[in-house]
Structures are given as structure tokens and as C-alpha cells.
């Protein structure tokens, strides 16, 4: 078992190396040197979740992002009073919740484990600490985060445009059928 106590005492080498490799593949840590990845790895908090356990709840203040080491997390948004929409499923080597790293605001969706999962979390206080001790590294991470969020905004805008076109078409066909009904 990996546990900060034993980590602290024995400084397990192999687990750390595996983790650094995993971090290297994440777009948030693009362009980080190996030494910088080691610094990030030391900051991370390991959390274990049982199947069905909630990682965070929609509407509650968020504090950071999670990287999936193993298992699977589903991101769910409440729609209306009783309906839930599954926005995404996050698997091994992916991450979620990164918006909370930049701003203190309520979680826009909830997250829960679909099976037993191991996550590594990086939180706002950790990022603040990195920026106090190693501003260059913090700058790289924040630039990556901004890039990812901009890309997502572009995608969201495209979706919005598509939806708008569909809506216009629907409205037009509705009007046609109404006109046909009146005649």
C-alpha cells in the first residue's frame, strides 16, 4: 500500500517514478522538466475511493483537480430537480476538476467513482505553494491550464453555434407546420 507515512519514511522510488511518467503524459504538465515533475509529484495527495463514492458534490466549493491513477470517475450534472446528465467518464491517466485550481467557485458538476479508484489530487493551496517557491514551474502549469480551458471554451462555442442552428431550423419547421395546420 502506498501511504504518506511509509512514503515519508522509506521514500519509495519506484512508485514515484511511475507517477512521474503518468504526470508527463498529462497536457496540464506539458513542457515540464523531469525535476519539475518530481516537485509536482511530491505535492500530490493520494486518495482512494470505493465504487459509488463521491469525489465532490455539484454546487460545493471546489479546491482542486484530480488525476486518475486507476479506476474510473463519472462526471454528472443535475438537470432540473430530478434528472442527471452524465457529462463525461474520466479514465486512467486523465484528469478532471481543473477549473477549481484557478478560481474559488462552486463545482459546476459532481464527480463519483464508478469502480474502486485511486486518484491524485492537486489543490489550489499546493499551486500557491509552488508559485511561492518555484514561480517558473507555476507559470508553466497555469499557462497549460489556461490553454486547456480556452480550447474547451472554443469547443463549447462551436457546440452552442450548432445548437443555435438546430434551434432555428426547428423554429422554422414549427412555423411551417403551424401555417399548414391553419390552412
Amino acid at each position: 500500500v502506498q501511504n504518506p507515512i511509509w512514503d515519508f519514511i522509506f521514500n519509495r522510488e519506484k512508485d514515484h517514478k511511475d507517477m512521474v511518467e503518468l504526470l508527463k503524459s498529462l497536457p496540464v504538465f506539458d513542457g515540464l522538466s523531469n525535476n519539475e515533475l518530481v516537485i509536482v509529484e511530491r505535492m500530490l495527495h493520494m486518495r482512494k475511493y470505493a465504487a459509488g463514492e463521491q469525489v465532490f458534490e455539484e454546487g460545493k466549493p471546489g479546491i482542486g483537480m484530480y488525476i486518475v491513477k486507476s479506476g474510473e470517475i463519472e462526471i454528472v450534472k443535475r438537470i432540473g430537480a430530478s434528472k442527471n446528465a452524465r457529462l463525461a467518464v474520466v479514465g486512467k491517466g486523465q484528469f478532471f476538476g481543473e477549473m477549481a485550481l484557478l478560481a474559488e467557485m462552486p463545482r459546476s458538476a459532481g464527480g463519483a467513482a464508478t469502480c474502486d479508484s485511486v486518484l491524485f489530487s492537486m489543490c489550489r493551496p499546493d499551486l500557491v505553494q509552488i508559485s511561492e517557491r518555484n514561480p517558473v514551474l507555476a507559470n508553466k502549469i497555469i499557462t497549460n491550464l489556461s490553454r486547456l480551458i480556452s480550447l474547451r471554451l472554443v469547443k463549447a462555442n462551436e457546440n452552442l453555434e450548432k445548437l443555435q442552428i438546430q434551434l432555428d431550423e426547428l423554429k422554422a419547421s414549427n412555423k411551417k407546420s403551424e401555417a399548414a395546420g391553419e390552412q
Partner: protein
């Protein structure tokens, strides 16, 4: 079968919680035993932490910076013992040996006031002020260095502070984040985000407050000492120390520094209106400089305790722990106030309260 299963779970759960409670109790007992060196180390970490971070940004290794800082502190402490020690010890020694003499001067002054009052108001029953005063004053030889040391602390606590504080501070500075991580790893998933956020906000606010107070008090102490030395008042270092510590108490701080200065003017027999004006001028100047230049930068947004809270706090602190209690009542109350405020808004945002 199912209920049997459940009951065995219950037993294991109970045992687990009993064990956890025992561990927490043990840790709390250790914290109680080492409260003074532990709190002192945390204070040192709060003050030295930014310095270490500053040089880490410049590209130095954390461990090297800490070792250099320790070496510098050792050198400056040795320097302080050599240069500041003898005058401070001399001032302390003369205060203690001259105390009976000063008492004489003060009782004479009081007698003067009493005869004056009795002449003016013959029908008022004025109690014998001198008798009251004498019963509270140290007799000749009653106050010596030995009794002062015995009163202030036992040998053990002095040694534990001297040895533990540097060691604990060293490890917290070097590996503080690991300790924080370890504590957070014990928090259940459900509360992880909330506890981390509250912990971060509370330590952040407390850090800022304590760092500001420390810088502010130090500046007032040094400025007062310099000012009083410049006008030639005896015991300037001792009064500077009192003024610095007194500065921890809002509203009353400036008065706390002025009272011993006033007594020194009277008791050393150097009383003159000119001297009094000079001393007042020094205190006003120090307070002005502190108010305009130091306080806004060091402390910034103040904790804003109501004056009534300050008065009650200082009184209760004095009742609980004497003079140290009076000095540290306001910092403790401020820290508690900040913590409760953060806790309240935090728990509210997680809709727990």
C-alpha cells in the same frame, strides 16, 4: 448470519474508534507537554518560511538556505549576547539592587501627596496609602536573581525550549509540506476538500496576522530603545522591550510602554518637566512612525477587536496567567476570531451549518 456479521463489524468499528481516540488523546497529551516549544517553533516557521521561500526562488536548495539562516542566527545571537547582553544585564541588576531605594523615593512622593490631600480635605477619611503601598512592595533583598529565575520557569522547560525549538523548526521548515500532507491523508474522502480549504485559509490568515504583529512589535521595541537612549533616559533597553511586547495589546500598548518610563523618571530622581516632555515626545514619535509607516505595511487590515473585548480579554488573561496572560490574551483572541470567521463562512459554503 447477516446480523452476526453486522455485530462483528460493530465490534471492529468500536475497537477502531477506541484506538483512534487513544492515539488522538496521546498526541494531545504530547502537544500539551510540549505546547510552549511547539507553538514557538510554529511561530518561527511562520516568520522564517517566507525568507526560505524567497531564496528558494533565487535558485538555492531549501536545506542549504535553512543551514545558512541557522548560522546567521547563531552569529547574531552571539553578537547580541556580547554587545547587548552586558548593558541589559547591568540594567536588570541595577533595577533589582536599586529597587528599595526607588521604593523609598516613591513612598516619599506618596507621603507628600497624602499630607497634601489630608490638608485639603480634612474631613475625608483617607487611608494610609503608604501602608498599602509598602505591603505590596518587595522588601530589601526580597527580590534577587535566583528568585526571578525560579519564578519564570523550571530548568526543564528552559532546556526544552532551547533545544526543541531549533530542531522542530528545522524539520518543519524543511519538510513542513510532508507533515501537512500526512495530516490531510488521514481525513476521510467526504471531508478532504473542505478540511484542506479551511486548514489553508486559517493558517494563511493566522500566519499573516502573527507575522505582522511580530514585525510591528519588534519595530516599536527597537525605535523606543533608540529614542530613549537618544534623550538619555536610563534603562532604555528594558523599557524598549516592555514597549515592544506591550504593543501586542491594541489601545493599551503605548501606555504600557510609557508607564515604566514614567516610573523611571520619578524613581531615578531625574524628574523634570523637560525630561517628561522629552519622554512623551519619544513615545508620540514612535507611535506616529508606527502608525504611518510600519502598521499599514506589516499588519495591514487589522483584526478589529472591539475595545471592550480588548479590556475584558486583557483582564481575563491576567487572571489566568499573570503578566504573560495579559500580553498574549489579545493575540490569542485575534487568532481565535480569525479562525472562527473562516470556519463559519467555510462550513456555511459546504452547507454543514
Amino acid at each position: 448470519v447477516n446480523s452476526e456479521h453486522k455485530s462483528s463489524h460493530f465490534l471492529i468499528k468500536t475497537l477502531y474508534y477506541a484506538l483512534v481516540t487513544a492515539v488522538i488523546a496521546g498526541v494531545l497529551y504530547c502537544v500539551y507537554l510540549f505546547a510552549v516549544p511547539f507553538i514557538a517553533s510554529i511561530l518561527c516557521v511562520f516568520i522564517l518560511g517566507p525568507v526560505v521561500n524567497y531564496f528558494e526562488v533565487k535558485g538555492m536548495k531549501r536545506l542549504q538556505i535553512i543551514i545558512v539562516i541557522y548560522a546567521l542566527i547563531a552569529v547574531s545571537l552571539t553578537g547580541a549576547v556580547f554587545f547587548l547582553g552586558p548593558p541589559l544585564a547591568r540594567q536588570m541588576r541595577t533595577i533589582i539592587s536599586d529597587l528599595p531605594e526607588y521604593a523609598e523615593i516613591i513612598t516619599n512622593t506618596v507621603s507628600g501627596i497624602q499630607t497634601f490631600a489630608e490638608k485639603k480635605f480634612p474631613q475625608a477619611a483617607i487611608p494610609d496609602l503608604n501602608q498599602i503601598l509598602r505591603s505590596r512592595m518587595p522588601s530589601k533583598g526580597g527580590l534577587n536573581v535566583d528568585s526571578v529565575i525560579a519564578w519564570s520557569s523550571s530548568l526543564f522547560s528552559v532546556l526544552s525550549v532551547i533545544f526543541l525549538v531549533p530542531v522542530v523548526t528545522f524539520f518543519l521548515l524543511a519538510d513542513g509540506h510532508m507533515v501537512e500532507k500526512l495530516l490531510l491523508s488521514m481525513v476521510p474522502n467526504r471531508y478532504f476538500e473542505m478540511v484542506f480549504m479551511l486548514f489553508d485559509k486559517i493558517t494563511g490568515a493566522v500566519k499573516l496576522f502573527l507575522r505582522g504583529q511580530f514585525i510591528d512589535a519588534g519595530a516599536v521595541g527597537v525605535l523606543t530603545t533608540i529614542g530613549l537612549t537618544a534623550i538619555g533616559l536610563p534603562y532604555a533597553i528594558v523599557i524598549g522591550l516592555v514597549a515592544g511586547f506591550g504593543n501586542l495589546i491594541p489601545y493599551l500598548g503605548p501606555i504600557i510602554g510609557f508607564v515604566p518610563a514614567f516610573f523611571v523618571i520619578i524613581a531615578t530622581g531625574s524628574f523634570s518637566v523637560f525630561m517628561l516632555i522629552k519622554v512623551i515626545a519619544v513615545f508620540v514619535l514612535v507611535q506616529t512612525v508606527e502608525g504611518i509607516f510600519i502598521y499599514p505595511i506589516a499588519v495591514g487590515k487589522s483584526v478589529n477587536l472591539h475595545p471592550l473585548v480588548v479590556i475584558v480579554g486583557v483582564t481575563v488573561g491576567g487572571q489566568i496567567a499573570g503578566i504573560p496572560g495579559m500580553l498574549f490574551a489579545i493575540p490569542v483572541i485575534s487568532v481565535l476570531k480569525v479562525s472562527v470567521e473562516v470556519l463559519y463562512s467555510g462550513l456555511k459554503s459546504y452547507s454543514i451549518i
